[in-house]
Amino acid sequence: MVRYRRPVRTIVRVTDRVQETPSTVTLRFPYAPPALPGQFVMVWFPGDDELPMSLSYTDGPSKGITVKVMGETSRHVQSVAPGTQVGIRGPYGNRFDLSPRRILVVAGGSGAAVLAPAAEAARARGAEVTVALGATRASELLFRDRFRAMGARVEVATDDGSEGHAGFVTTVAESELARGEFEAVWTCGPEVMMRKVIAAAEPLGVPVHCSMERHMKCAIGMCDACALGPFHVCTDGPVFPAERLKGVPDFGRFHRDSSGRRVPF
């Protein structure tokens, strides 16, 4: 098994910048290496940090990432204009299994970034896709229209009730699970959210796949920054079947900071 992926950086220029929500922006750029939904790239904002970012557009030579304001770098990213140079390496990591025919997608926060291209690919293969999409408020619902355009059924939850169910997206997910006959659940978002999704799907026997995030530095399975129990999110993930995560005490409870210290969520 040759695991080696040429992680040589390519410097590209951002071609498009789309303000998806007040706190989220999509950047498009030319990057030829083939990618699959679920995979991520390391994106270098010269002068700033290099961050792991899921590909929100995986098809063809024009790739995309969708960045939500979280801290300093992601805030700067919001103002990245077309023409700006960024460094890309990857794609890294595994992908979603696209074979299930009825899929429930549960997205919280920027989780829709990785789930949208996966749902799109599943739809293209004829799968039925239901999306439980959560955000703080209506304006922050990421890729709602994109999900609709691909022919997915979209159920919304907002913390402030400004659209759809008022409250947790997990409540929406639970009622969907109760009704539908899903072959798979795909989820990405805060780990407490993902734990709840697993808790709801498990008794029903529906397998759940979680796209995980951990602090990343090398992205090639070396530096140990992204350690998650016995796994490395960069090379064993980012997509994990829930069963693999069950034995991992840190899941939903602790992540590691840049020093490798375990810190509670």
Partner: protein
């Protein structure tokens, strides 16, 4: 089947392949994983007195399959929290060697004592990180400093002390001799070689820190030269490091004078299963060449010159 077990400096290992410091070494589970994959022992990330975030990204740059440049900046959770990780690895049965780094002899000694308290089988002193900010050069580039640090640590702990030598020196053998004089049970070499990558499109260094350290196949010939020179200068055992990715690489190091080896960058290029492949390859090669035991090959290339 050739016997791969090695005994030196009071250590007894099932095979000579140790996980190098800084790779898969921040979490106890990862150390346990390297052990489970087949490593003869695992060395922790270099641990300091307090938590340290390391440099911002980019922290790595790679060159095809022959080299990797890094400037992690010694991120580590600090000696306060880290014992918990060691415990996780030890519970999984791993033989753990604790690596520590510090800016002077006193701090090295203090850290080493705390590290020894975790039950590690040995302590490796990272004297050589080429990208830690010291007073201009590396903490371990002067023989006097090396001897002083080693002496201070040896006075403080009972486990064997391994001094890790930098290649960024005109005289690696001199540094190793200083470590021996200070009472080191063994020396290991080499750490990464000072290096830099420039991006011409961005007109800047690639790594956030600028300078970094080169590892991987490219430095194997450099590491072999260091081991060769050190072997001629000291009588304590030597651990070879640098670009080891095959059983043959390890045997080259052994013939140059190494009793054991550490493997770092190959984990990034080949995955942790490299620790299953390496002993298999080494045993096959030893059989082919007529060596009954790995240890019989140690220093073999010196006898004819």
């Amino acid at each position: 089947m050739a016997d791969l077990s090695v005994r030196f400096a009071g250590l007894s290992l099932r095979n000579p392949f140790l996980l190098a410091s800084g790779v898969w070494g921040e979490s106890g589970d990862s150390l346990a994983g390297a052990w489970a994959a087949g490593a003869g022992g695992v060395i922790t990330k270099s641990i300091g007195a307090v938590p340290r975030a390391g440099y911002p990204n980019p922290t790595i740059e790679t060159y095809e399959r022959w080299g990797l440049l890094n400037a992690m900046g010694l991120p580590n959770p600090g000696i306060g929290e880290y014992p918990r990780e060691i415990e996780v690895a030890q519970r999984a049965g791993a033989l753990v060697i604790g690596s520590v780094f510090a800016g002077d002899a006193t701090e090295f000694a203090r850290l080493a004592r705390r590290m020894a308290a975790t039950g590690v089988i040995a302590i490796e002193l990272n004297l050589s990180c080429p990208h830690a900010e010291g007073f201009g050069t590396e903490v371990g580039s002067e023989p006097e400093d090396v001897e002083k640090i080693v002496r201070a640590v040896v006075a403080e702990v009972r486990v064997p002390v391994i001094a890790k030598i930098t290649p960024n020196t005109s005289d690696p053998a001199g540094l190793a001799s200083a470590a021996e004089a200070g009472g080191a049970a063994a020396v290991s070499a080499i750490n990464t070689v000072r290096a830099l990558a420039i991006d011409v499109h961005l007109r800047r260094p690639v790594l956030a820190h600028g300078l970094g350290g080169l590892s991987g196949a490219a430095i194997k010939p450099i590491g072999l030269a260091c081991i060769w020179q050190i072997y001629e200068a000291v009588s304590i055992p030597i651990i070879g490091i640098g670009g080891i990715g095959s059983g043959q690489d390890a045997l080259e190091y052994a013939m140059a004078g190494a009793r054991a080896v550490e493997v770092g960058t190959a984990v990034a290029f080949d995955g942790i299963s490299v620790f299953a492949r390496l002993p298999r390859e080494l045993a096959g090669l030893l059989d082919e060449l007529g060596f009954a035991r790995f240890e019989d090959a140690v220093g073999a290339a010196h006898t004819r010159v």
